[in-house]
Amino acid sequence: MQKKETLQAIITDLDRAIKMLVRKDFELSGIKEKREAELMELDHIAKLLVRRDLELTQIKERREDEFQELEERTKELEESKQALLNILEDVEESRMLAEEEKNKTLALIANFSDGVLFFDSKNKLSLANIKVQDFFNIKPDEIIGSSLEELNKFESLKTLISLISSGLKILAKTREELVLGSSLVLEVSTVSIELEEQKLGTLLILHDITREKSVERLKTEFVAIAAHQLRTPLSAIKWTLRMFLDGDIGDVSETQSEFLQKTYDSNERMINLVNDLLNVTRIEEGKFLQKTQKCNIVDLLKEAAKSIEDIIMKKNLNFNLVLPDKNSPELNMDKEKIILAIQNLLENAVSYTKIGEVILSGAYDIAQKRFLIKVQDSGIGIPKEQHTRVFSRFFRSSNALKTETEGTGLGLFIAKNIIEAHGGKIWFESVEGKGTTFYFTLPA
């Protein structure tokens, strides 16, 4: 009985123990489940963490790429900067070279024997050398930077400014003489300075020609005096010979008359030469035109034509005179000189034409308000290579020298000066062996 009880008690204990164990096991499995859930959660967190980290890594990578690009850009910039600095250095070097060149040029200009003035594109004086001070007694510093108006206020500069400026604009290209005071004569040249079609300004060069001028004047004076002194005895000889030839002082034999005639002709040529020389000196002295008066060109042409009638007949040439309309306007002219000019042209035409004709024609051009006078011949012509020298003093063409020994070589020079003094123009067309035509105009 006691055993049974004991057994019962053991069973009860065991049962309790089993129940406890089951309960523990249940509790344990609960804990395990909980742990597993916790682990799963940790794993999940780990995954989230990795995702976040990956994102960060990728962002960092992009940043670093950007940074690298930035560094490269910076490097490029640095290189550009260096390149630029190098260029600047080169430029500085070039600038210094240019500066040196400029200094040389300035030294050259400063010590130049001519006066030099440079006006910029706005016509302000930007450069003047020391010679300018010698000429005008003004220090370059006082006038540099001045406009033409301002320069005009200096008394000593007035004549120069009025010479070079027209409406206060500097003339592009001129070559004039400027007389300053009693003895100083300057040749003023203005040159427009352009660089690649852009006007930089105008350069004025003042060349002292006082000495040349005085030498020239002395020469002209000498010729004038000499010619004048020659003319009186030549005239005396002329009239004496005339009297002999006309038999006014007794008979002369035929042989004597022949010699006297030749002497007379030679004397005439001498007189012509002296007259031409006197004309030339007057031209050079600038006092050529003496008295101007209203005249009809028709009369002048007729008068000039008359002077060659004899020789035309003698050489058996055809002469044609074409006159302008009678109603053409009258001109203000130095009549004697215009006749002289036409005569010179006509004499040349006749002298250098053996056969054929000489035409003198005049016409009035209403549109251009001028007369056009033409002297045409069928003579020996002028060799082409000598065309440029035709109006020079003492010029005689090579073929003219062969055919005609007479002539001073001054006729065309005189004619040109007469025409130009009247505001006209003279030119010619010529073919060697075929003939020559001289034209000149006279403005009405």
């Binding site: 940790l42 794993d43 780990a46 995954k47 963490l49 995702r51 990728q58």
Partner: protein, 393 residues
Amino acid sequence: MIKAGVGRSNNISAIEAGEEACSKAIGEAGGKADLIIVFSTVAYEQKEVIEGVKSVSKEIPLVGCSDAGEITTQGPTSKGVAVMALQAHGMEFSVGVGNGADKDSFSAGKSAAEEAKRKAKEPFSLFLMFLDGLAENGAAAVRGAQSILGENFPIMGGSAGDDFLFKKTYQYCDGQVLTNTVIGVGLSGDFIFGVGVRHGWEPVGLPMKATKSQGGKLIEIDNRPALSIYEDYFGKKAEDLTKEPIARMAYTYPLGLSVQGSPELLLRDVIIANEKGEITCAAEIPEGSEIRLMMGDSEKAIKAAKEAAQNALSQLKGSLPKAIFVFNCIARHKLLGMKIGEEITAIQDVLGKEVPLIGFYTYGELAPLGGMLGPTCRPAFHNETMALLVLGE
């Protein structure tokens, strides 16, 4: 007596770059050398850069490989060439080459070790290896060499890189530019050395099991397609992970294997994943291995480099460091980004700033597990790891 010199150049001309770097290295080494080590960018025509080096080094034995960035005493650089000239009185170098690493890495590693050993006059104390970074199985190449040298024989080295292009890498042996080869150099004679191997990566998440693998190819993890772990962790779809080498996204998230004898998990880079969900790794992951996803952190990485240097220094047992070789993973370059120089500075803080240093950014590192030498020395193929070797006397 060991005297090393290091030169580098990024001259735009490959030939001139080779010449410059080599002249400087030999100059620093005292005008002569017994071994020339070259690491170069693939941006240079490879034959030209070696020609440039050889024009200066002439008949001195030359080894090396292409890289993904050079490391010298001056710190990390890229797109250039780095040369070390090693003058080592009392040391012998013996070079061997193994071919066909793309088909059989084991045999290639074995041949390289065999040839080097055959040519050597004295027994080796250390074996250096340069692998093709894109050839089959780096770990097998190490095992191949071990089959000749012994399981506990110290092996150091790295896998050639190609500036992160993953197209073709090159190995250099004397005047030759090779590919798919293993270059081995046996070092013997009178010298002492220390090694350091650390990565600093940390495991995250729960351990997983490689349930199916084949060499470097990981097929299943926890009975699911291997790629699914990256899908889970990255929160990306499989197609996003397969359209370009998964390495580009996952280089700082390698897999870690627990290996006996190593204080850190052994890292494996994932390189390419396919639409079947298989992942090709830089080296084998044995079937049944416990694996973890690893996460990198720049501070820990720099700290790891310092620890590796300290380990190497302690192994020199008071000898002075004479030359430093750094085999540093390209992934660390990517992880550290602009802080990349700090890692090398950390090493130099320990070993000396003036000690000639050469190295390169690798596609895989060869070093004893845990940096242990002696009877417990077990060389392995690493990824994402700082592996360094210091020669001293």
